[in-house]
């Protein structure tokens, strides 16, 4: 009886998490819940799926499709090029001194996104940019006449790669370092060629890391607003820009459609990230 009365009804140590939980609830969970619930509410409240029906217009479908394509292509290219550069530095026989500068630069470049990145590309590949003018005056190549326009889908792809590739380099380099020399030697002793080693040993081990990073890059591009907005202004029809315009001026003509639009973004980035976390847990088994 006595010992029972001294024990608190719950573990008092949990009270120490109160500030953190309060912060998370107020500034992370409640705002997100507001969006999620709003997506399923009509103008006067009450549960409805009407918002998703109304959202299903050609323009909105097109925005989602362009966003998904943009995120997919930049994630794919980012992974491929980032992997190539990381592999070149880790196994390619390049001087050891190049490795640290590459990692440092990747840290800077992966954070150099948003408005200034757009400016840098306009100054380089824009109508009067350095490369554009140089190609025209020295080689007579007119990028514009060839159909290239920085303020378009492919312009965005080229610009997004500036932060996608470095992110891949930052994440995949430790994974490449984790490939043990013994595995390669064991494969060679058993008569494997270089290509066989990569196809049957190294890539299967790296596969979860690569696919996981792909998912992270996908979500990274999907949620990016500032770069696209500074590059093309409010016209380009991708989901984050559309949501930005909707929050500022209700361009869809119905505030609840904004919730539905945002809910769609959460679903897509959450799916990509769940894939990332799951694959990361799997890949870490091999890299201990």
């Amino acid at each position: 009886m006595a010992s029972k009365s001294r024990r608190l009804p719950f573990n008092a140590a949990w009270l120490g998490l109160l500030p953190f939980t309060a912060f998370a609830v107020l500034f992370l969970i409640l705002p997100t819940m507001k969006i999620v619930i709003g997506a399923f509410q009509g103008q006067e409240g009450g549960f409805t799926l009407q918002n998703f029906v109304d959202l299903n217009t050609a323009s909105n479908r097109n925005a989602y499709w362009t966003s998904i394509k943009l995120s997919f292509v930049t994630a794919l290219l980012g992974c491929a090029v980032g992997f190539g550069m990381a592999a070149a530095v880790v196994f390619g026989g390049l001087p050891k001194g190049l490795r640290n500068p590459l990692i440092t630069f990747s840290g800077v470049a992966s954070n150099f996104a948003g408005v200034p990145l757009a400016f840098a590309f306009i100054a380089t590949l824009g109508p009067v940019g350095l490369i554009t003018v140089w190609l025209r005056s020295e080689f007579g190549i007119n990028l514009r006449a060839m159909g290239f326009n920085l303020l378009s889908y492919w312009g965005l792809v080229i610009t997004y790669l500036f932060f996608q590739i470095p992110l891949m380099i930052l994440i995949i380099t430790p994974a490449l370092d984790g490939l043990k020399r013994e595995w390669r030697e064991a494969a060679e002793v058993l008569g494997a060629t270089g290509a066989q080693y990569w196809r049957m040993v190294a890539l299967p081990i790296l596969f979860p890391s690569i696919l996981g990073t792909f998912a992270l890059l996908f979500a990274n591009a999907f949620g990016a607003v500032a770069t696209a907005f500074a590059l093309t202004g409010p016209q380009l029809n991708i989901v984050p820009i559309k949501l930005f315009a909707q929050i500022r001026g209700d361009v869809l003509g119905n505030p609840n459609l904004g919730y539905a639009l945002a809910f769609g973004m959460i679903v897509i980035t959450a799916a990509a990230n769940i894939l990332y976390i799951w694959l990361r847990v799997r890949s870490e088994r091999w890299l201990k």
Partner: protein, 260 residues
């Protein structure tokens, strides 16, 4: 053959990354016709809005870092010391800002804390500043938490706490004088990353209508020709500075540990 391929990939990559950096630097010098000059920078630095917005973002970055440290260090410490079973929950929450796009979070803020809501934070400038600081703290949370938690892993939290307690120290003393100095390097590296994130942030500040550096850059970009690349050079130098200081902090940590 292998080496040739490696060099090709590496050099092509370098070309891609250097191209826009050279482009923006060159363009920013072209303001005066026929010769290179620093005119664009002079115009930018003479603009009072530059200093106002830059100062504003710097203040907010300071507030975000202070708040982040006060929130993350005690929480991470407490989880390590007393509540290891809460780790999955806390880690999950700290990863949420990577899952939910910033624009969605700020959309939630606007709808949840508008003037007709139960907590009308957007009703006043101070309230909106606090809301924006909280938003930035959310964006920085994954990086801050991970940095501090890694820092805590290298010290023996339990023994240090018991030693301090047996000498009569209270919780505040333990946190401020024992734990914080021991994870200072991790805190600094998180702080510099936070600074880099906050200084260039556009979406949250623009949608909350606050005069931050990001929206200012966007405004200049929409109206001027030569000033935007100058701003991009300044922003790049700032990011580079933050990352450099972060690396320096990490390197110092390794050095300290090697000595110990």
């Amino acid at each position: 053959m292998m080496r040739f391929l490696a060099w090709t990939v590496f050099l092509l990559g370098c070309f891609y990354f250097l191209m826009p950096l050279v482009g923006m630097a060159e363009f920013s010098l072209r303001m005066r016709r026929g010769e290179y000059s620093l005119d664009a920078y002079a115009v930018v630095f003479a603009d009072p809005r530059f200093w106002a917005t830059f100062g504003y973002s710097l203040k907010l970055a300071g507030a975000t870092i202070l708040f982040g440290v006060l929130l993350v260090v005690p929480t991470a410490y407490w989880v390590r010391l007393k509540l290891p079973q809460a780790r999955p929950f806390v880690e999950f929450v700290t990863l949420l800002p990577l899952v939910i796009p910033a624009i969605v979070i700020v959309f939630g803020y606007i709808r949840l804390y508008n003037t007709s809501s139960w907590l009308p934070m957007t009703g006043s400038a101070l309230g909106t500043d606090i809301l924006l600081t909280m938003g930035y703290a959310t964006l920085a949370l994954p990086y801050m938490y991970r940095a501090v938690d890694t820092g805590l892993r290298t010290i023996d939290v339990g023994t240090l706490t018991e030693a301090a307690q047996s000498l009569g120290a209270g919780w505040i003393t333990i946190l401020a004088r024992i734990i914080l100095p021991n994870v200072m390097v991790a805190v600094l590296s998180g702080a510099f990353l936070t600074l880099a994130i906050v200084m260039g942030e556009f979406t949250m500040a623009a949608l909350l209508n606050r005069p931050a550096f990001g929206p200012f850059m966007q405004l200049i970009g929409a109206n001027r020709a030569y000033e935007p690349p100058a701003l991009a050079v300044i922003a790049f130098a700032l990011t580079w500075g933050c990352m450099g200081l972060m690396q320096l902090a990490t390197r110092l940590a390794k050095h300290e540990r090697a000595k110990a």
